[in-house]
């Protein structure tokens, strides 16, 4: 009788191979291994725990359905991240229909206030411990609009080029560039403000 593989010790590549043959235990091990990362990406984009849970679950179901399409050009985790990003982008588009137009977005498209912000010259994160720094960055990210945060996440965390971001977000490269510019300047200003608040 063939013995079952020891799933926790197997590399992703083998688990994917087994899962493609409908081995659900192998797929479950992949889910356990990468669930935090996929959930974290969904949460960083949606900023809502429940939506992030739902979308990450949906991503795993789609991953199972499309497994035959995964050819190993990227890592399995990267492939799954792309799936959850696309689901998040779809959901953000749906949500936008019900959301009031962002004032920040209007500002940015008219060459707004961020151009008047002074350049931040002192390191606003100096002296912070890693955990505290990460929390502060996350706090600042939460303050951006969905549109600005999405572009920043796709560029800085997912390492996508302008062209790729424009394709996924369905806007022009020029819009990607100005949103990215605004988002970075806003982040710098927010981090500097947190530092100032700390000192006063």
């Amino acid at each position: 009788m063939p013995t079952q593989p020891d799933y926790p010790t197997q590399a992703d590549e083998l688990l994917v191979k087994l899962a493609k043959k409908s081995d659900m235990l192998a797929f479950e091990e992949l889910v356990a291994r990468h669930r935090d990362k996929i959930y974290a990406r969904a949460f960083s984009m949606m900023r809502n725990e429940d939506e992030a849970l739902d979308l990450s679950q949906e991503a795993w179901v789609k991953g199972w359905q499309r497994l035959v399409q995964f050819q190993g050009d990227s890592s399995f985790a990267t492939w799954m991240t792309r799936i959850v990003i696309n689901l998040c982008l779809d959901q953000l588009r749906k949500n936008k229909r019900h959301r009031a137009e962002s004032i920040e977005l209007m500002n940015e498209e008219s060459g707004g206030v961020e151009r008047q912000m002074p350049v931040v010259q002192v390191n606003p994160t100096e002296g912070l411990e890693r955990t505290e720094l990460r929390k502060r960055i996350d706090q600042a990210l939460a303050q951006l609009s969905h549109e600005h945060r999405t572009v920043l996440i796709l560029h800085e965390f997912e390492d996508l080029e302008y062209k790729e971001i424009a394709k996924r977000v369905e806007c022009s490269i020029g819009t990607v560039m100005s949103r990215l510019f605004y988002a970075r300047r806003k982040m710098a200003a927010l981090l500097a403000a947190y530092k100032r608040d700390e000192l006063t």
Partner: protein
């Protein structure tokens, strides 16, 4: 500095410019303190973010999270798989029919042989739900606890605790 210049500086930082355009910016940066300060700010955020993404843990247990995914996968499998055409005359099916008949015979023999033996566990874990509700049962190894989670097939309707 106008907006185009600022965006070009950003594109230079992100290595999105052609070689010629990048060379022009590089020359500009040798003499333009304001441009340098801006690029440094943008670089600070770029590097800072890349190296400091907050790590999050999914707030549900492994078993519970997986049970919901598995339920959806199984539901989609039931919907997607077409009915197979049963070609009974094919050798595989004949073999199968033979094995099945043998198993049935053994089962009937066991009823006669063990008649009267009352297996009290025969009804264990039998569940039935109304047609409007589905349920998933899973067992948490950590807590050694069984949970039956009900879900409404129509999300608009819900049992509530009030």
């Amino acid at each position: 500095m106008n907006q185009d210049t600022e965006l070009n500086l950003q594109a230079y930082l992100d290595e999105e410019l052609s070689e010629g355009e990048a060379r022009k910016i590089s020359v500009q940066l040798k003499n333009d303190a304001q441009a340098n300060a801006l690029i440094e700010e943008l670089r600070f955020i770029k590097v800072g973010l890349r190296e400091n993404e907050l790590e999050l843990k999914l707030p549900e247990s492994r078993e519970f999270y997986w049970s919901k995914i598995q339920r959806e996968i199984n539901r989609d499998v039931k919907v997607a798989s077409p009915r197979a055409t049963l070609r009974w005359w094919k050798p595989g099916y004949v073999r199968f029919a033979g094995v099945f008949a043998g198993a049935c015979a053994l089962l009937m023999l066991s009823f006669f042989a063990f008649d009267g033996q009352n297996d009290s566990r025969a009804m264990d874990e039998v569940e039935g739900t109304g047609e409007d509700m589905g349920s998933i049962t899973y067992h948490s190894d950590k807590e050694n606890m069984t949970v039956v989670y009900l879900f409404d097939r129509d999300p608009e309707r819900m049992i509530d605790s009030k």
